[in-house]
Symmetry: C2
Subunit: 288 residues, 2 copies
């Protein structure tokens, strides 16, 4: 392991941790500023953190908040190492000579109390095997996709991700957007999981600093973007039918995560922390 590689790993890991702290602070500020119809009924939510160890080495910290705007939001950071089982090696770059890996990342899923505020997911990670690359993405899931309610939020979400990608040479927005459309899709339903966003993996442009800069920029973009979108409608009253539709829509989220999501499967199959991995599952779900 070269000193350069070690410095890069430390820098990536430190970034994910620092981003987590800033996101948690921004989300707690949203909890403080909530002024919706039932604001007086509950105190602002606060994150609680739980550390966990990884069998192969390293570990992570799960931060979870159950609040009055964020019905359930989980922000996981982890820095782990280990050896891939043989049946993984053929599918992972850089594992021909050794199954050893190192991985660090941040992963976030927020399920909102109001059906008028979309659910959101964001994840960025750095992985080192015999090769080194970045991956990640962000996607938005309105609760009422058959209406125009969140049309402005969806447009803003895509615009911000496009601007982020366009400012960074390693990022290819049209390709990353299509990748999200292809990835966040439920073939058994013939339905998109939500409104899409961006998705990318195996990002290794040849300029590590540029790839890392894009990774940081995506985090910064998310940190500015989602709080702005959440604040827009969080105080609006909503109808019982909107809430009912949200709970059904969340069932699609569960179906996607358990049937198709590679991160979930990867985590469960490599002995990750179950509660941290499945933190993405919504707090209340209806399959009517």
């Amino acid at each position: 392991m070269s000193p350069l590689e070690e410095r890069r790993k430390s820098a990536a890991s430190a970034w994910f941790n620092a981003l987590r702290d800033r996101i948690c602070a921004a989300f707690e500020a949203i909890e403080d500023d909530y002024a919706g119809p039932d604001a007086a009924d509950a105190a602002p939510g606060r994150f609680s953190r739980r550390a966990w160890d990884h069998a192969g080495g390293g570990g992570g910290v799960s931060a979870v908040m159950r609040g009055r705007v964020f019905e359930k939001v989980g922000v996981n950071v982890s820095t782990v190492s280990g050896t891939f089982p043989d049946d993984f090696r053929g599918r992972v770059p850089g594992t021909d000579e050794s199954g050893a890996y190192w991985a660090s990342g941040i992963s976030l899923v927020a399920h909102m109390r109001s059906p008028r505020v979309p659910a959101v997911h964001m994840n960025t990670r750095h992985i080192v095997t015999g090769e080194a690359w970045f991956g990640g993405g962000a996607d938005l899931t309105p609760s009422l996709p058959d209406t125009d309610l969140n049309a402005a939020e969806v447009a803003d979400f895509h615009a911000a991700l496009k601007a982020c990608c366009d400012a960074h040479a390693p990022a290819d927005y049209p390709r990353f957007k299509k990748w999200a459309d292809d990835y966040f899709y439920l073939p058994h339903r013939g339905e998109a999981r939500g409104a899409g966003g961006i998705f990318y993996d195996n990002l290794a442009s040849g300029d590590w600093e540029a790839d890392f800069a894009f990774t940081r920029a995506l985090g910064e973009t998310f940190l500015e973007l989602f709080p702005r979108l959440a604040r827009r409608r969080m105080n609006e009253p909503f109808a019982a039918e909107e809430r009912a539709a949200q709970l059904v829509r969340r069932g699609r989220y569960v179906e996607f995560n358990l049937l198709y999501d590679r991160g979930t499967q990867f985590g469960l199959q490599t002995g990750g922390d179950v509660e941290a991995i499945l933190m993405s599952l919504p707090p209340v779900v209806h399959w009517p």
Copy 2:
């Protein structure tokens, strides 16, 4: 296709349909007889049926009831044919020369309103490729597995399945019980899905009539057994904490069905009816 084989298919398919009618009637009678604390608040549930076509040929009927004892129960019967995709053929007996299959069966999942009445699953099926066999099983899922509340129901459930198996030569109770324990298991949690029961597949003893007789006997056993168990505690008041525990326990059911259940994966991958396949998912679920 020999006339004998055609008669056998017809007989199996007719049995599954007739069993469905009797189960639905028995469950509706339970709805009628409910006398729990809130009995006056809602009318007895009734099944509604929906027919669906299968892309390869044939189709099925989904019967669903949302009642005051059965929060959501689905009883599917289907008789379908088609050709397995190539990647299935290596995994299915009798498909070396042709991927053609015929399959008929009944599948039932009941999620109960009271956390004091266990959820239950029962399925039997007849499959014909180049070979012909039966498969199926039944398992019970108490909502409060960490208590002794349903100890008597669990004991009765196992005893009835044992008696059914012991009376039929093709059935091997110890093996079928262990198969259920191995199958209805969540490796990522290190937890059983419930209290187990029996599970079997590829049952072809060489005596088709005996195999079919066991299949019918399992249906008859279920028809006598589960209504008896459901009636035992359905009118008991229950605590809010018991209901809360039930909704969390249901999350494990979802995790099992979407991550591991072969019938679910088989159905979704072979173009089955999505609503019929996912009817097994509980109506309300919490991941706290």
